[in-house]
Symmetry: D2
Subunit: 148 residues, 4 copies
C-alpha cells in the first residue's frame, strides 16, 4: 500500500456522496452497497447479496463483483482526494478465484499509488469472515482530472 495517505472523508460523508451521486446503484431499499470503514489508503465496503445477482451454477455473477470492485476503488480514491465526481476508471483487471457463497460480499480496496494524474489500487473481494480465501482480486487504475 502507498504510505502516508490520510482520508479526507468520513464513512458518513462517503455514504452520503454515493446516495446522491448513484441513487440507481442502490437497491429499492436504498442500502444494497454500503461503505463500512475508511482508514489510511483503505476502504471496506459491503454488498448485500440477493437472488437478482445469481447465475447458472449458483454463484454470484461476475459483473456484480466487477461493479463492486469499481465502486470500492472509487470510494477509496474519493475518500482520499475528496468528492471529485469526474475521476474515471481507465483500467480494471479482475481474477475470479473461487465460487462465492451466498453470504454478503465484502470488498477491501487499498491504494497502491495516489498520483496527481493516476491512482492505482487493488481490491480483494471475500465472503464476510473468509478474508483468507478471497473470491476475486482486482487491480484498477483511475484517471484524476487535472484541475481539481
Amino acid at each position: 500500500m502507498a504510505s502516508g495517505l490520510e482520508p479526507v472523508m468520513s464513512v458518513a460523508e462517503l455514504r452520503a456522496f454515493f446516495v446522491e451521486a448513484f441513487p440507481q446503484a442502490l437497491g429499492t431499499s436504498g442500502d444494497e452497497t454500503l461503505v463500512e470503514e475508511i482508514s489510511s489508503g483503505r476502504v471496506l465496503i459491503r454488498r448485500k447479496v440477493s437472488e437478482v445477482n445469481l447465475r447458472p451454477g449458483g454463484t454470484i455473477s461476475g459483473p456484480t463483483m466487477m461493479a463492486l470492485a469499481d465502486h470500492a476503488m472509487y470510494a477509496v480514491i474519493l475518500g482520499h482526494i475528496g468528492p471529485v465526481a469526474l475521476a474515471v476508471t481507465t483500467n480494471l483487471n479482475i481474477n475470479f478465484l473461487r465460487k462465492p457463497g451466498l453470504e454478503d460480499l465484502m470488498a477491501e480496496a487499498r491504494l497502491l499509488k495516489l498520483g496527481k494524474r493516476l491512482a492505482v489500487g487493488e481490491v480483494t473481494i471475500f465472503n464476510e469472515g473468509e478474508e483468507a480465501d478471497p473470491v476475486a482480486h482486482v487491480t484498477s487504475t483511475y484517471s484524476i482530472p487535472p484541475n481539481r
Copy 2:
C-alpha cells in the same frame, strides 16, 4: 484471431439460450442485450442503452460495459463449443478508452484461443457505426469444464 474455428450454434440458438439461462439479465421488455451475428471465431452483440446505466458526467457506466463484454465472451465461447453453462470467467481486463455516446453499444468478441481447458478472447465495444473509435477494449479468459 484463432484460425479454423466454426460456430456450432446459430444466432437464434444463442438468443434462446440466453433467454433461458439469464432471464434476469434482460430488461423488462425482454430485449436489452441481443446476439446479432456469429461467424468464425466471432460474435456481435447489441446492448440497448437506457438511463438506468448512466453515471455522473453523462457516460455509460463502466460496470455496464464490463457486463456486456463478459456476456459477449460467453456467447462467442458457447457459440463454438455448444451450450456448456458452467464455463466460467477466470480473468477479465478492461481498458476504458473514451466516453461512449448515448446510442446503443455494440460488442464484438473474437476468440484468440479455444483450448481444451482455457478460452481467451478480446472484445471491442463501440457505439454503432463508430467501430474505428472503440469506447472500451477487453481481454478475457474462461475456464472450460473438463468433462463436457
Copy 3:
C-alpha cells in the same frame, strides 16, 4: 484501432532512435529487434530468436515476449508523437496463448487510443507467417509527459 492517426516517424527514424536510446536492448550483432513497418496507428516489429531466450519445454521465454510487446508499444506511440523518450509504461497485460515455434517472432502493435495523457494499444505476437494463430496478446497503457 483509433481512427485518423498519421505516423510522424519513418521506419528508418524509429530504427535510429532505438539504436541510440537502447543500445543494450540489441544483440551483440546490433540487430536482434527491428522495426519493419509503420502505418496509420500501427507498427510491425521483428524479434530474431536465439537460444538465449529459451526456457524449459523448448518455448520462448515469457519475459522475452513481454519485452518485445513493450518495445512494440513504445515504437507505435513514438512513431505517432515523435521521439519523446520519457513516455513510460503504466500497465501491461499479457495473455500467453500457445507455445511459439523457434522461428522469428513478429509483434504487431495497434493504437486503440492516443490521448493527451494516455496512450492505449494492443500487441499481437506471432511466428512469421502464422498471424492467424498468435502466441501471445498484449494490451498496454503508456503515460505521456504533459509538456512535450
Copy 4:
C-alpha cells in the same frame, strides 16, 4: 492470500532448482536473482540491479520488472507444488507505480489461489526497505499440468 498453504521446498531447494533450470537467467557471477525467503503461500526474491537494466530517465526497465515478477510467481508456485518445470504462465498483468531507485529490487509473491489447474498470485516489487511504496504490482495466472 489463500489459506492453508504449506511450502514443500526450502529456500536452498528453490535456489538449486533455478540454477539448474535457468542458468541463463543468472548473471555472469551466477547470482543476479536469488530466492531469499519462503513461507505459507509466499516467497521473497532479490534482484541485484546493474547498469544493464537501465533505460532513459534512469529507471530500471519494465521488462526487468516483468521478468522478476514472473520468476517470483514461478518460485512461489513450485515452492508449494514441487519442481514441476512445465507449469506455464497464462496471464501477467503489471502496473508500474513509480520509478525505482538504483538499489536492489525485492519481489514478494503471494498465492491468491492454488487450484488443481490454475494458480493465481500477486507480486509486489519494491526497493529494499521501501515496502510501503512499491514500484510495481503484478497479478499473474499459471496453468498447472494435469498429470503431475
